[in-house]
Each structure stands twice: as structure tokens, then as C-alpha cells.
């Protein structure tokens, strides 16, 4: 198992370098000269040259990239052009809320999705099954912002049940109400895919020999489904949840923007819109690294859940 994880880590390295290179490009290919942006419109050429030298912009691209990696490893991501704060500090402030939002969405989506999928599989072909599948296809087809707009408009504004802008604080410190609508928005998008795949996986397992054996032993149907079928069906579902990480990240960017949630996604969008390249590269880098990490964790979990993977 350890070997597998090391192998997986090694595969992640080129991807990580790719992420870093993309972020580096972000600082390079920008249409505006960062030195000129920092110096301001009326700066003298000498001032600009000095800033260029200070930023290392006068050196060759490979050297700059190498230096960039070294700086990133030291945690130095530069300063925001807009606020002049250190990018790493801004990221430190925003990463918590983003994780909170994602975990909240997952806690909502995973149990509901698995529950609905199992229900549909067990009642295959029935009206319940059709209804659940119809909802999940609709869910897969719905843009995240549509769900968000509806929740803001009705639950937040008309019925005034829950707050819909900003974050009042951490969950353990009275922040739960402000988390519910964003987490619901993000979670609802995930329920559809999870339910669909759980259904397929459970159906496949229900036809397996060991389920027939379990039934033949005279076990109660709930025991067969929960202990025998669902447990084995969870393996592809875990993989799917890993694949949904991309969805989750993309959705988080939208959700944060809509609900003024102070997370990394909103930081990234704001930075891009205002051409704050150091902040944009930092935020994009953190999001990409988060994605790689989630996938890595899912792979580890996969090995843990499926003993067959360990032996190969």
C-alpha cells in the first residue's frame, strides 16, 4: 500500500510542475508589464528599470521559472498589486472558508446521493426509480448559479429564512446559518452524479454471486443491501467523488462569487477581473494543488477500500 501511495505521489510531481508553470506563465504572458503597473502611469524609466531588476524581470525565462519555484517553496508568492498585502497571507485567510464550504457541500451531497441511488437501484424500474433518475439528470444539467439564484431569491430574500451574503464566522462560532445556503447550492449539484453512479454500482453488485449467497442464507433484505451490496458498491462511488473534485472546485468558485463567500475562488475571480496577477496566480495555484491533493486522497482511500488493488 505504501508503494502505491509513493507511486501516486511521484505521478503528481509532473502535474505539480505543470501547475507551477501555468502560474508562472500567468505572471509572464500578461499583456501589461508588471513593473509598469506597480510603478504607476507617471513613473520615470529608471524607476521602472529598478522595479524590473528587483522583480527579476530582466533575467531569462528558465532562470526566472527556477527562481519562481524556489520562491514558491519558501512560501513567497509576491504581493497583491491592488492591496499590496502578501499573497500568501490573503490565501491563508481565504483557504479556510473554501474548505469549510466544500466539506459542508460534501456532507450534504454524499449521504443524500448514496441514499437516493440505493433507493433507485433497489426499486429498479419502479416509479421511485424513474423519479429519482429524472431528478438526478435534471440536477446534472443545471448550472450551479441557477440553483444559487433560486435559493438566494426565495430562501434568502423572499422568505428571509437564512443569510445569503458573506460569512459571519467559523461554523463553531455562529457561522452555521451563513454556510447553509452556499453549501446547499454546491451540494445540490453533486447529488445527481452521486445518485446516478450509486444506482449503477448497486445494480451491478445486486446481480453478483455473493449477494445471491447472502440472500440464500436467508439474511434480511436490509442486511443484504446495506452490508453486502452497498459496501461493495461504494468503491466506484468513492472514485466518482474524487472525479467530482473538479466539479466541486469549479462550483465553489461560482458559489463563493454569488454568496460573497470570502474563499479562494472569489479571490481568484476578483483578482483576474482587476488584473491583480500575483494574487490570481497564487489563488489558481492553491486551487490546483487542492485538486491534486483531493485526487491523491481518493486514490489512497480507494486502495484502502478495495483490497484487490493492493495485491496488484
Amino acid at each position: 500500500m505504501a508503494r502505491q501511495i509513493v507511486h501516486r505521489l511521484l505521478i503528481s510531481i509532473p502535474a505539480l510542475i505543470g501547475v507551477l508553470f501555468l502560474c508562472f506563465c500567468l505572471l509572464q504572458v500578461v499583456p501589461a508589464d508588471p513593473a509598469m503597473v506597480i510603478a504607476g502611469p507617471d513613473a520615470k524609466p529608471e524607476t521602472i528599470a529598478a522595479i524590473r531588476q528587483e522583480l527579476g524581470l530582466d533575467r531569462s525565462i528558465p532562470v526566472q521559472f527556477f527562481e519562481y519555484i524556489l520562491r514558491v517553496m519558501r512560501g513567497d508568492l509576491g504581493r497583491s498589486i491592488i492591496s499590496n498585502k502578501k499573497v500568501i497571507e490573503e490565501l491563508a485567510l481565504t483557504i479556510g472558508p473554501t474548505i469549510e464550504l466544500m466539506v459542508g457541500a460534501m456532507l450534504l451531497a454524499v449521504p443524500i446521493g448514496i441514499g437516493l441511488g440505493t433507493l433507485a437501484a433497489v426499486n429498479r424500474g419502479s416509479l421511485t426509480d424513474r423519479f429519482i433518475m429524472a431528478i438526478s439528470v435534471a440536477g446534472v444539467s443545471m448550472p450551479v448559479f441557477f440553483i444559487g439564484l433560486m435559493l438566494i431569491q426565495y430562501v434568502g430574500f423572499r422568505w428571509a429564512l437564512l443569510p445569503f451574503t458573506g460569512r459571519t464566522g467559523p461554523v463553531w462560532d455562529g457561522g452555521l446559518p451563513s454556510l447553509i445556503l452556499p453549501a446547499l447550492t454546491l451540494g445540490l449539484v453533486l447529488i445527481g452524479p452521486i445518485a446516478r453512479l450509486t444506482r449503477t454500482a448497486v445494480l451491478e453488485v445486486l446481480g453478483a454471486d455473493f449477494v445471491r449467497t447472502a440472500r440464500a442464507k436467508g439474511l434480511r433484505e436490509t442486511v443484504v443491501i446495506v452490508h453486502h451490496a452497498l459496501r461493495n458498491a461504494l468503491i466506484p462511488v468513492v472514485t466518482l467523488i474524487g472525479l467530482q473534485a473538479a466539479f466541486l472546485l469549479g462550483g465553489a468558485v461560482v458559489t463563493e462569487t454569488m454568496f460573497s463567500w470570502p474563499g479562494v475562488g472569489r479571490l481568484a475571480v476578483g483578482a483576474i477581473v482587476s488584473s491583480d496577477f500575483p494574487t490570481a496566480q497564487g489563488a489558481i495555484m492553491i486551487l490546483a494543488i487542492a485538486f491534486l491533493t483531493i485526487n491523491l486522497l481518493v486514490d489512497v482511500l480507494y486502495v484502502y477500500l478495495d483490497p484487490r488493488v493492493q495485491s496488484t
Binding site: I11, S12, P14, A15, G18, V19, L22, C23, C25, L26, V29, V30, P31, R124, G125, V137, A138, V140, S141, M142, P143, V144, F145, F146, L149, M150, I152, Q153, F157, P193, L197, T200, L203, P236, T239, L240, L243, A245, A246, F247, L249, G250, V253, V254, T257, M258, A268, V269, A271, I272, V273, F277, A280, Q281, I284, L287, A288, F291, L292, N295
Partner: protein, 297 residues
């Protein structure tokens, strides 16, 4: 959408595929599926409406009239007017055009590049290792992030979104195409072709590609809805089309500021995206069911 599961499903059929045109019963079987017929006609209508937008749009989508701002849907303006008094129906028709073009370009260009990469990876084993490693790296970037990065590098606009959608399509298609092509590679006719001295080029095109095309096609129809969704989300975030261009995602974002006064401005474009993606997804599912009997229930 689970590519993992799709991969397995589609790869399984690769060896059974006998080519695109050999499937005589395809249309007939699709026609028996009521949902598929409904989805196909909805999508057909939407495409026609988008193509003929300049002729059927009741108003100029860019004509502002502040005296008519934020009107609710009425007989004169079926979908109401937006915050600058522009007719939303006309804008939705033009916006659908842009949204569909984004999705189509993403799927076609990304599908072509991914398909070629995947097939080459299956045919030339050594090259394949490198290609698939590249694909793995590309998979490490969620589409929205690519979109954000492209918008940051090239500036927000339709081209940034198109690049992002192409990049987002390539790796998945490459994996599916490679899986299908590896299945075909194992068939006897490949060996026979090589034995009688068919050139590499002819083997790749006539033997390999034509036998993989339907698998790739099904996968692309399944991806089409997702690609449109990603494109519209990028539009919503302000990374895509810039005002006054009509694009559904961006229109929804503009309406967000007036959500409490005139909810229809944001809701109608969002609904339009939903209908397009839903029809595309249902049709994709129907294609898969017909072309991949293994997944039929």
C-alpha cells in the same frame, strides 16, 4: 459525469463495433425511445432558433430603451426586458447562438485533438506512454481553473473560454479513444491488414479510426452538455463574452444585480441553459443506450 464508468462502458463496446454505418437499426431504435425523441426535437428546435436568430428575433438584441427597463414578461416582450430595456427573448436567441457555438467548437476541436492523440497512443505504444502521461497532467486541471487561467493570461473573452473548453475536452476524449483503439488493435483484421502490407497511415485511418469513431462520437455527445455548462459558468464569472455581446451565462450574471426587483432577467437565461444542457444530456444518454447494449437496463 463519471469518465471512469464511461470508459469501461465504451471500451467494452469497441470490439463489438462494426462501424458507424453498419448500425442500420440505430435511428429506428432511437425513435422508439420517447425521451430521446423529445430531447432530439427540443435540441433541434433550439439549434434552429439559434441559427435563424437574426430572422426570428422580434427586436434588436442590442437596442436599449431605458423607458422600458425591467419590464416583466408581456405580450410585447414574451420574456420581458432587462435593466437597459433590451428584449430578453431576442437576447436569449442570440445568446443561445454564442453558447452553442462555444460548446460545439469545444467538443469538435477538443474531440478531434483528443481522438487523434488517443488513437496514436494506441497504435504507437512507445509514443503512447508519453501521450498518456501528458493527458494525465492535463486531467490535473479542472476546466474552470483552466478557464480562469486563460482569462487571466489572454484577457476575458470568448477565445479564452474556447481554449479552456478545448483543453478540458482533450484529455477525457484521448483516454476514451485510446481505450477503444486498444480494443480494435487486438482484432484479427488489424493483424491481417498488417500481414498484407497495408501502410501505417491506412491502418490508422481506415482500420483503426473508422472503427473507433462511433465510440468517440457517443462520448462527445455525453460531454456536450457538460462543456456547455462549463462555458456558461465561465461566462457567468465574467471570464467569457463581454457586454454587450449576448451569452447566456453572462446574461444570468448581469441579471443577478437585479434579482430582487426583476428576477426574470437572471432566471430566463439560466432556464435556457438548463433546457439546452438537459436536452443534450438526455440525447447523449439515449445514444449511449443504443450504441452500448451492455449499459441498457
Amino acid at each position: 459525469m463519471s469518465t471512469e464508468v464511461l470508459d469501461h462502458g465504451l471500451i467494452g463496446t469497441a470490439s463489438q463495433e462494426t462501424g458507424w454505418f453498419a448500425r442500420a437499426g440505430l435511428l429506428r431504435r432511437l425513435a422508439r425511445d420517447r425521451v430521446a425523441v423529445l430531447a432530439a426535437s427540443a435540441l433541434g428546435t433550439i439549434v434552429l432558433a439559434a441559427v435563424f436568430a437574426p430572422w426570428i428575433a422580434p427586436y434588436d438584441p442590442y437596442f436599449t430603451d431605458l423607458t422600458k427597463a425591467m419590464q416583466a414578461p408581456s405580450a410585447a416582450h414574451w420574456f420581458g426586458t432587462d435593466n437597459t430595456g433590451r428584449d430578453i427573448l431576442s437576447r436569449v436567441l442570440y445568446g443561445t447562438r454564442n453558447t452553442l457555438v462555444l460548446g460545439l467548437v469545444g467538443v469538435i476541436v477538443g474531440g478531434a485533438i483528443g481522438g487523434v492523440l488517443g488513437i496514436l497512443a494506441a497504435y504507437y505504444r512507445r509514443l503512447g506512454g508519453w501521450i498518456m502521461r501528458l493527458v494525465d497532467i492535463m486531467l490535473a486541471f479542472p476546466a474552470i481553473l483552466i478557464g480562469l487561467a486563460m482569462a487571466a493570461i489572454f484577457g476575458a473573452g470568448l477565445s479564452a473560454v474556447i481554449i479552456a473548453l478545448v483543453i478540458a475536452t482533450v484529455p477525457d476524449v484521448a483516454r476514451v479513444a485510446r481505450g477503444a483503439a486498444v480494443g480494435v488493435m487486438g482484432q484479427e483484421f488489424m493483424e491481417a491488414g498488417r500481414a498484407v502490407g497495408v501502410s501505417d497511415g491506412a491502418l490508422i485511418w481506415r482500420y483503426l479510426t473508422l472503427n473507433c469513431i462511433s465510440t468517440i462520437f457517443v462520448f462527445l455527445t455525453l460531454r456536450f452538455g457538460q462543456i456547455i455548462l462549463i462555458g456558461s459558468v465561465l461566462g457567468f464569472l465574467g471570464m467569457g463574452a463581454q457586454p454587450p455581446t449576448a451569452e447566456l451565462g453572462m446574461m444570468a450574471a448581469q441579471g443577478r444585480d437585479f434579482l430582487f426587483m426583476a428576477p426574470h432577467i437572471a432566471t430566463i437565461p439560466s432556464c435556457a441553459i438548463f433546457v439546452i444542457v438537459l436536452a443534450a444530456n438526455l440525447l447523449g444518454d439515449a445514444f449511449r443506450d443504443v450504441l452500448d447494449p451492455r449499459l441498457q437496463t
